[in-house]
């Protein structure tokens, strides 16, 4: 089986290298000069693909957990699902979790992932007490907000380009039960969506689904889901019924008519106005994880996820402008997710900034790359940036314009000779 990424769009040649322990890793680290660590293969594009790839997934032991303080120490190949299965029954949960639990801790740090509570809790790096990293020289360093700070700032969000993360200590969040009280607010247009985010900005979790095919007065139609952990319902994890997409779907299945129908059915499930539900952790945070290989619905050509963020003062105008372009293009995005973010952190390449982000899935087809190029220009116009964990095609120019702390990142790369060792196909494309 060849190594791939979640979008199935880029499939370059990669030699896989496994390692049994840190000594074997040091040897591997020494041997190759265009190397990148690879976790669970859930980044969408080419950020974990390179001519030589260090497979980190089996470096996956729990090292320590204190159920009194909620401090967890794990190796970098541990996946979030394993953490959840272990700590939730003991009353703890990840402080920050993305929309899939099928990623490794190393991947979570390298992409400095975020979740539905970014507006209050920040990105994944906020939960890290410290971590150990193997440098190009084979030397292993501790880094945190207080120790080797430059390496830490470059590693969180650094897309694996600073070294191999070995293990990390994280602080968890105490939860009263494994259930969430969800409030769903239906919005008929973009203005109503933004208003709902503002109205609920002190709630723990919020995210919105947007119907990208709605146009004119319904532009930006969708629904906002707000969540709070609720007490008194126990700490059990309900095993999800696993569905699986068994084969690559033929290309014609997804088109603007079928997506439109899906969107209509999906929005019809919500009654007018505001409604409330009690849902479990898996349904609230990881709805798509219950379908194995959902990426196969996009067929052999794969798909591209396009996620960008705009600063708050430009968000409304910018989103409206961009949604118009998408609606007029007739290219159907199956999933479009809008989210309000909180303050930006000090990491050099972390994606979040205070503002709104939109994530869109497009199946690969003629004209798509041109559409995305034109969206790039809009993102630049509104002073936004593109999320590297999702990216498979962005240009050096567009990437560079979005990340003002890039020079600091490149200086750290140079200082520790990381630029002579760690590269992915993505980093070579965007000049990192």
């Amino acid at each position: 089986m060849s190594l791939g990424s979640w979008g199935n769009y880029t499939k370059p040649v990669c030699n896989e290298h496994e390692f049994l322990d840190e000594m074997a890793l040091a040897k591997l680290n020494d041997q190759y000069n265009v190397l990148i660590p690879y976790g669970n293969g859930r980044s969408y594009g080419d950020s974990a693909l390179a001519p030589d790839v260090a497979i980190v997934k089996s470096h996956n032991h729990f090292l320590d957990f204190d159920p009194d303080t909620g401090i967890l120490h794990v190796q970098s190949g541990v996946i979030l699902a394993d953490i959840i299965d272990t700590v939730v029954p003991q009353g703890w949960f990840l402080k920050v979790t993305p929309g899939t639990k099928l990623i490794t801790i190393g991947g979570a740090i390298a992409s400095d992932v975020h979740g539905k509570n970014h507006h209050l809790e920040g990105a994944f790096s906020e939960t890290i007490i410290n971590m150990r990293l193997m440098l190009p020289s084979g030397e292993i360093v501790n880094c945190s907000k207080h120790e080797n700070v430059d390496i830490y700032r470059a590693t969180c969000g650094g897309m694996g380009l600073t070294g191999i993360i070995l293990d990390a200590k994280l602080s968890l969040k105490k939860i009263p039960s494994s259930y969430i009280k969800q409030t769903t607010v239906k919005a008929d247009n973009l203005k109503e969506l933004f208003d709902a985010f503002e109205q609920y900005k002190s709630s723990s979790y919020s995210v919105a689904w947007v119907d990208c095919l709605a146009n004119k007065e319904n532009l930006g139609r969708g629904k906002v889901m707000i969540g709070e952990f609720t007490a008194g319902r126990g700490l059990s994890i309900i095993p999800k019924v696993k569905l699986s997409v068994p084969f690559m779907f033929p290309r014609f299945i997804l088109n603007k008519y079928t997506v439109n129908t899906f969107n209509w059915l999906y929005s019809a499930r919500v009654k007018e106005g505001t409604s409330q539900q009690i849902v479990d952790i898996n349904s609230f945070f990881y709805p798509l994880d219950s379908i194995n290989h959902w990426n196969k619905i996009y067929g052999r050509q794969g798909f591209i996820q396009y996620q960008f963020i705009l600063p708050k003062k430009q968000s409304y105008e910018g989103m409206k402008d961009i949604l118009k372009v998408i609606a007029n293009s007739g290219k159907a995005s199956f999933l479009a997710v809008l989210k309000l973010y909180g303050k930006e952190n000090d990491n050099y390449l972390s994606f979040p900034m205070e503002g709104y982000s939109l994530a869109l899935d497009f199946k690969m087809e003629d004209g798509l790359l041109e559409l995305l190029n034109s969206l790039d220009e809009k993102v630049l116009k509104y002073e936004g940036r593109i999320y590297l964990a999702k990216d498979a095609r962005v240009s050096k120019r567009v990437f560079e314009s979005g990340y003002p702390k890039l020079e600091e990142f490149r200086a750290v790369r140079k200082k520790y000779n990381m630029d002579k060792k760690y590269h992915s196909y993505q980093s070579m494309r965007i000049g990192n």
Binding site: H61, F62, L63, D64, F65, D82, D85, T86
Partner: protein, 244 residues
Amino acid sequence: MSYVLIVGAKSDIAMATARKYAENGYDLYLAARNSKTLDVCAQDIRLRHQVKVQCLELDIIDYSSHQKFYDALTEKPLGVISAVGYLGDQNKGQTDWHEANMILNSNYTGIVSLFNIIANDFSERRQGFIVGISSVAGDRGRKSNYLYGAAKAAFTTYMSGLRNRLYEHKVHVLTVKPGFVETQMTKGMDLPALLTVKPNIVASAIYNGQLKGKDIIYSKGLWQWIMLVIKAIPEWKFKKMSLG
């Protein structure tokens, strides 16, 4: 009483089996040579499953140490699982007695020495289970690995006799013949994908087989039929064949 003793605990099949039992709430004794290297895995299992795990030093071919080893277990195990296996170097073993002896002792005499002691205790207490991982290689001798195969054949026969003896003492004896498994032992070998399983599949087969009181299991049902065919080939024909 909640412990399961796993012997040869460093092997991939042993580790997968340990995890399977821990997942189901059993405490573990993990016994192996240089057991210090098991510490990280033991801690991982403790944290993931909230069970007790003890790592114990055991050299399977140091026969005289076995009684002391077993006596030192203050809490006697519910059952024992041996995943001890040493493939060795067949060619080397044909000329180097030390290698041949190592293959025979690791895969057969060593386990017999330990199982004898445990079987006596279980039989006296009229409870317990004994699981031995043997091999399809013991079903018929082939030129590529018959030293290993012969030791496994002897072990399979030993397990069969033990089962017969302990039946009336309510001790369950299970023989496991895994076929091809993706492990460190088989790394680099070109194994047919259809017949090869991952260690966790073998672990589940062991756990379920033990729970259901099975006598002999293959990790993939197909192996039973393959070996039936291989055993049915007449010797005058078999001796001319090259089965890898």
